[in-house]
């Protein structure tokens, strides 16, 4: 069957409809012995005879009892009384979802306070990251700060140095926007070669939320900032690390940069900067200063620690690129992805995420043969500027090895590079800003592996 002919969703006849009576009998007998390979071959034989459109096994073959016990035996939840309202004042995910956790990558850091935890992208849907699964990056630990005592200051090249309370900031006209945040070091460990097994560890320093707050421009206007000579802004955190980063005024005057307190309909989570953080769309996460306490307007850049020691991209020849802030166009298939096992041959929905620090995603192509042939994926709505976009593509796996890749293009026309293209200009020691096309090898045994192709 040609994969290109598949465009619609999963519509399949029930398996018994394209099995011969003899086949059904054999399936029952073999099914009892747990030999699913045999089931598959029985289906294949049936399909060859009947020319049915789908020749693959289903994950839920008809049991020998004549019906699924999950249907035939009504469970407790169908025959009893459930729990009352407000048992959980703040609802939690199902206990069956406990495998979805943000996780540390073993051996990456020595302490938990200067470390990172990765979001479980392999199990997420759509474009919004649940706030409790948002990736974390702390430089000196996180805090839960009393919002009534938090203050925000603007000083430097302004008519008047000013101080704001949360009450005051939350009174101002607000905006709510979806944006991705990606650590500049996302996918860093794979610059030279494959180093980690799953998309959680390769791409999990990536999240997307709806942020609510006040455009920084509004606050700068209130303070009478010198927009002509004040070409740079310093953002500073109020925690121990007192993170500082330089932001160009041109990005702020565009209205994009937000002093945010809201995240996905509630306040920011403490791990994400409660009660106030800077949102700098399209720019690497380190600039989204958490526990934001101060903005200074100046005429020169600041060469903060994370602009002059870390977050500089080493180039071949020994020169570092400084002030590399934009997260360029990138994408990754989240299913099937490394460390997963496909249940069987047959239909799959290849799904993944695409994003660009320069605007909207224009298109995503997906290859299942390691980049030789590509098909255009469906971009699901909404497709928003500097936010994650979700793509999907129908795929029928024939059980043979397949190398799955995605390639995104943003609205500037820029196309996500391959590893050879990226390494040709930046070498392999750059650490930051690895936006290369990711490859996942689906093996005959169904296991998916993180690989790189030459």
């Amino acid at each position: 069957m040609k994969e290109d002919s598949i465009h619609s969703g999963r519509v399949q006849k029930a398996p018994e409809n394209f099995l011969t009576p003899r086949g059904i009998k054999e399936v029952f007998v073999q099914g009892q012995k747990g030999r699913r390979d045999f089931i598959r071959s029985a289906f294949a034989a049936a399909a060859a005879g009947a020319a049915a459109p789908m020749a693959m096994a289903q994950g839920n073959p008809l049991p020998i009892e004549g019906g699924d016990t999950n249907i035939l035996n009504l469970p407790e939840h169908a025959t009893g009384l459930g729990q009352g309202v407000a048992v959980e004042g703040y609802g939690k995910p199902s206990k069956f979802e406990a495998n979805l956790q943000r996780r540390q990558s073993p051996g990456l850091t020595q302490t938990t306070q200067s470390s990172v935890s990765f979001a479980p992208l392999q199990s997420l849907f759509g474009i919004v990251t649940p706030s409790g699964l948002h990736f974390e990056r702390h430089h000196q630990g996180w805090w839960d700060i009393d919002p009534s005592k938090h203050r925000f200051m603007i000083n430097g090249m302004v008519k008047k140095n000013m101080v704001f309370t949360l009450d005051e900031i939350m009174r101002l006209p607000s905006v709510s926007r979806f944006h991705f945040i990606e650590c500049g070091a996302n996918t860093a460990v794979d610059w030279g070669n494959v180093a980690v097994p799953t998309v959680q560890y390769t791409h999990g320093m990536l999240s997307c939320s709806e942020f609510t707050g006040v455009p920084l421009m509004t606050l700068l206007e209130l303070a009478g900032a010198d927009l002509k000579n004040g070409k740079f802004v310093l953002a500073e955190g109020g925690d121990g690390s007192a993170m500082t980063r330089t932001i160009p005024m041109s990005l702020i005057t565009s209205g994009e940069v937000i002093v945010a307190y809201g995240q996905n309909g509630e306040m920011l989570r403490p791990e994400n900067g409660y009660p106030l953080r800077l949102v700098v769309p399209g720019v690497q996460g380190v600039s989204w200063v958490k526990y934001l306490r101060r903005i200074e307007v100046g005429d020169k850049p600041y060469a903060a620690k994370d602009e002059a020691v870390h977050y500089m991209d080493l180039q071949p020849g020994g020169l570092h690129r400084q002030y590399t802030n934009i997260q360029e166009c990138k994408s990754v298939v989240t299913t099937p992805s490394g460390g997963q096992v496909l249940l069987d041959k047959g239909f799959y929905n290849i799904t993944g995420l695409a994003w660009s620090g320069k605007g909207k995603i224009k298109r995503v192509d997906v290859s299942t043969d390691g980049g030789r042939n590509w098909r255009q994926a469906r971009l699901e709505t909404p497709v928003l500027s500097k936010a994650l976009s979700r793509f999907n593509l129908d795929w029928v796996w024939d059980g043979k090895p397949a190398i799955i890749q995605s390639r995104a293009q943003d609205e500037t026309g820029f196309v996500q590079p391959t590893y050879p293209q990226l390494r040709a200009v930046r070498g392999t020691r750059s650490i930051y800003h690895n936006n290369a096309i990711q490859s996942w090898l689906v093996q005959e045994n169904g296991e998916v592996k993180n690989v790189q192709v030459s």
Binding site: Q101, R171, S454
Partner: protein
Amino acid sequence: MSRFRNAVVTAALLGLAGLAMAQSPNYPGVGRGATPKEVAKWDIDVRPDFKGLPAGSGSVAKGQDVWEAKCAHCHGVFGESNEVFSPLVGGTSAEDIKTGRVANLSRSDYPGRTTLMKVPTLSTLWDYINRAMPWTNPKTLTTEEVYAVTAFLLNLANVVPDDFVLSDKNMAQVQARMPNRNGVTTQHAMWPGNEFGGTAKPDTANTICMKDCKPEAKVASFLPDFARNAHGNLQEQNRIVGQQRGADTTKPEPKAGMVVASAAPVVVAKLDNSEAKAAMALLNKYSCTACHGIDKKIVGPGFNEVAKKQAGKADYLVSKIRAGGVGVYGQIPMPPQSLPEADAKQIAEWISKGAGK
């Protein structure tokens, strides 16, 4: 709003027009002027041109004392430690100080990149030590101590001599000796503005090809078999329903045939040991975990190691926590910890009972 009304009244009475009138007419009642005292307390940044640098000085000798008391337990006596953070010093040469380019950065076989190999600007060191060090007690160094520690680091890298006193008067001269001062460029397409005069053109230019694009892909890199379970059991890191499962990495990969994914749901058991939970919350609160892992050595011994050695000795552990010590597990000293006795006791009891999760 009474506060707003008070402000207007006060301004009118005292003629402090600035207080009320500097506010934008669009948003009356929002924000107030910051006092010079407030700005002085928070505006601590130091720029590469040394704007913001407070007057003062500190010697290499003083820096060594501060270093050994407050810095060495994480960074090593000579800034060489790789235990907690990357080494600060090493990899630079006298030639680098002359050229302003660290030669080892161009060597792909050079094993690491120390802070002194990378940092082009002296202000960055001063600013960062001042705002964020020591790691567990940031912003507690005096101005003299910041100058002194900076001087000591520079001395370790042979940028300044042993008898040097670093001050606001000579920072610019020392900047001219920074080993990697000429080692950075802003000429790239990844700054979101034109302030640095970089390029707008990205450095890669992939194109959209759809058919027969390149020779068949060959797998060039993958994880070795021994790393299969290095990130924990991946089966327990994937949802228990859906179009896939996580691979059971506690078992070797099946070499032939299709894996029949386990139909039985695998959900990781959640921590439910309230005594351990409470102790671990305290360990985080007092930053004990910065130096001690629960079950691994960091700078100091892992709690599991302490538990093995000091089983049942809660009182002894309380005294050691509060008094500090050296020599029991190694030569890196643990400074005295100033936490309430009750909290120290709770931690000590948890350790003495085995430091279980």
